[in-house]
């Protein structure tokens, strides 16, 4: 398998974006390679006009709809690659949305950018991630150089980014802060049997107004996270603004793989498949391990979520 090429492109104008994007896409199409462009609606329009007739051969998606959360985005990339795996090289131009995100969200997306170096390691994907210096903050642009081994300005060549960090070190830094302690009104219980995890979580979800399919999905996420963590454990549930949070804590057990649950299930069952499902269902899944044990914290949308 070809190694992945993962490059950042820090651009400051539409012109600079196109100077990278047009050759990157055109070269791929010329070589018969699959090309996926997932970026803002503004950049999709710019690129479409510049490509002219060639645009018809480009797979495209607006970033907002191509993986709402990091685990969904990583999964979407893996699936695109699997669907095109007969090709030696698969090109992806992937620009995340950074504006308006919470600090927690920004950290999660940086963490994923770094994690992609390991997750897509031997896929042969050539991924360029554009960063719009007109809108992203200095912190995000600096970390782009830490999460991408090289930078690219012309869509063809690269040079070392200079401050690339080992992904495990970078992710370790993202996970360094302890999770906030559960609030006093959290309900918690020690649980021995795995089928009692879903009963506890379902009951507590209903008590806090989450019902129907949403409660069922949260119960599945909690069950799968518990299956990954192992029994017995202590479960806790509480409500936050717009969210229902569920903590699962297993004393004495250290969960080690920080990227577990980012790769979608394949034909062979793996222990991380359940965690992957939990990450698809939930808005946030945080995993922490320390000397005392491991915690998986699930956050799903609360009962007042409006979907139109």
């Amino acid at each position: 398998m070809e190694p992945m090429i993962h490059q950042a492109c820090l651009y400051g104008s539409d012109q600079e974006f196109l100077e990278m994007a047009v050759p990157f896409v055109r070269d791929g199409l010329a070589d018969g390679e699959p090309v996926l462009v997932t970026t803002t609606s503004g950049n999709l329009e710019l690129l479409g006009e510049a490509l002219g007739g060639d645009a018809a051969q480009v797979d495209h998606a607006e970033t907002a709809y191509y993986g709402r959360r990091t685990a969904q985005r990583a999964t979407a990339f893996t699936r695109y690659w699997r669907r095109n795996s007969r090709h030696r090289r698969v090109r992806i131009l992937a620009e995340p949305v950074w504006q308006g995100r919470s600090a927690r969200d920004v950290l999660a997306w940086k963490r994923m950018e770094s994690g992609l170096n390991l997750l897509l390691d031997d896929t042969g994907i050539w991924m360029i991630c554009p960063y719009d210096l007109r809108s992203v903050g200095a912190g995000i642009a600096e970390d782009a150089l830490r999460t991408h081994p090289s930078v690219c300005a012309d869509g063809r060549t690269g040079r070392p980014s200079g401050s690339y960090a080992d992904p495990l070190d970078f992710i370790g830094g993202c996970d360094a802060a302890p999770l906030p302690a559960p609030p006093p009104d959290a309900t918690s219980a020690p649980i021995d049997e795995i089928n009692d995890v879903r009963r506890f979580v379902t009951d507590e979800a209903y008590r806090r107004g989450l019902a129907g399919e949403h409660a069922s999905m949260l119960a599945v996420a909690a069950h799968e996270a518990a299956r990954y963590l192992g029994m017995p454990l202590t479960a806790g549930v509480w409500a936050g603004f717009g969210a229902l949070i569920c903590d699962l804590r297993r004393p004495g057990k250290a969960v080690s793989d920080p990227l577990a649950g980012f790769r979608p299930p394949g034909p062979i069952e793996r222990s991380e498949d359940g965690l992957w499902l939990a990450r698809q269902i939930c808005d946030h899944v945080d995993v922490r391990a320390d000397a005392a044990g491991s915690t998986i914290r699930l956050q799903a949308a609360g009962p007042r979520l409006q979907t139109g």
Partner: protein, 271 residues
């Protein structure tokens, strides 16, 4: 179905694979617990039956005489019941809870219906004593349908369609549409039984296999994987059709991308 001493059930089959969901748990539960097991064959050579057990994950030699497979001697109801009574008493004397008996009933096709009725009535007394429990095996290929339906009334397991009766999950065969009905919750506690019942259904039926999911309140990823693996292994244009699938399970299948799995058809609650 988990059975206890005193119970007397039957299993009707048209392929040896259909015996597995019934007999494999019956025998392994006994060996894992405190029972002895006696398996009496008629048309099948004991060595072939031993091979079947191995195929079901039961080690026929690993239990120091607690599992005996032998060929039927005299097909006389009185002699057979006397032998069974003696074996049940011996098991109790040796410190076991009970004797688990299973036997091929094909001898009754040769001996006649009166003989069969005599056996089934007399053997009931042995089970009623609480020293034994049993499953009588009826091969659909050799017994007339009318005999089979009469026999079902003689067995306490009148619900012959019930394939598994666990604490959280029940699996029942269904004739229309052909396949299975599931009731309860599916996780690690029922997933092996589900896999067994599905593979038996795939062998039993010639066309699509239907699974009614309308009374499933929970299924985890391992349970969904069993359904998908069964579907993708089907050949010849056959499908595994999931009916009355709860809305959140439809969503889960879609999230995982298994809604596009070859051989799988997912129908929601209105189907």
């Amino acid at each position: 179905m988990r059975m206890g001493p005193g119970e007397h059930r039957s299993v009707a089959f048209s392929d040896e694979a259909e015996l597995e969901p019934v007999l494999a748990p019956f025998i392994s539960d006994g060996l894992a617990g405190r029972d002895k097991v006696l398996y009496v064959t008629d048309v099948t050579h004991p060595a072939v039956a031993v091979g079947l057990l191995r195929g079901w994950g039961i080690d026929p030699d690993g239990h120091g005489g607690r599992l005996e497979v032998r060929e039927l001697g005299t097909p006389d109801p009185d002699v057979m019941v006397a032998e069974l009574t003696e074996a049940a008493h011996r098991a109790r004397a040796e410190g076991y809870r009970a004797l688990r008996f299973t036997g091929e009933m094909s001898w009754a096709v040769r001996e006649g219906t009166d003989s069969l009725t005599a056996f089934e009535t007399k053997v009931q007394a042995v089970f009623d004593s609480g020293l034994a429990m049993g499953i009588c095996q009826y091969d659909r290929r050799v017994f007339p349908p009318v005999t089979l339906s009469e026999l079902q009334r003689l067995h306490s397991g009148a619900d012959v369609d019930l394939e598994f009766d666990g604490a959280l999950l029940r699996i029942r065969r269904s004739a229309r549409p052909p396949g299975l009905e599931l009731d309860g919750e599916i996780d690690a506690n029922g997933v092996d039984e589900l896999a067994r019942a599905l593979s038996a259904a795939v062998l039993r039926e010639s066309g699509d296999v239907h699974v009614d999911m309308g009374r499933i309140s929970f299924i985890d990823l391992s349970g969904l994987r069993v359904l998908v693996d069964t579907a993708t292994a089907l050949t010849g244009g056959r499908s595994l059709v999931l009916n009355h699938v709860p809305e959140h399970v439809v969503q889960l299948i879609g999230l995982i991308g298994w809604d596009r799995a070859p051989g799988l058809r997912v129908r929601g609650g209105d189907a």
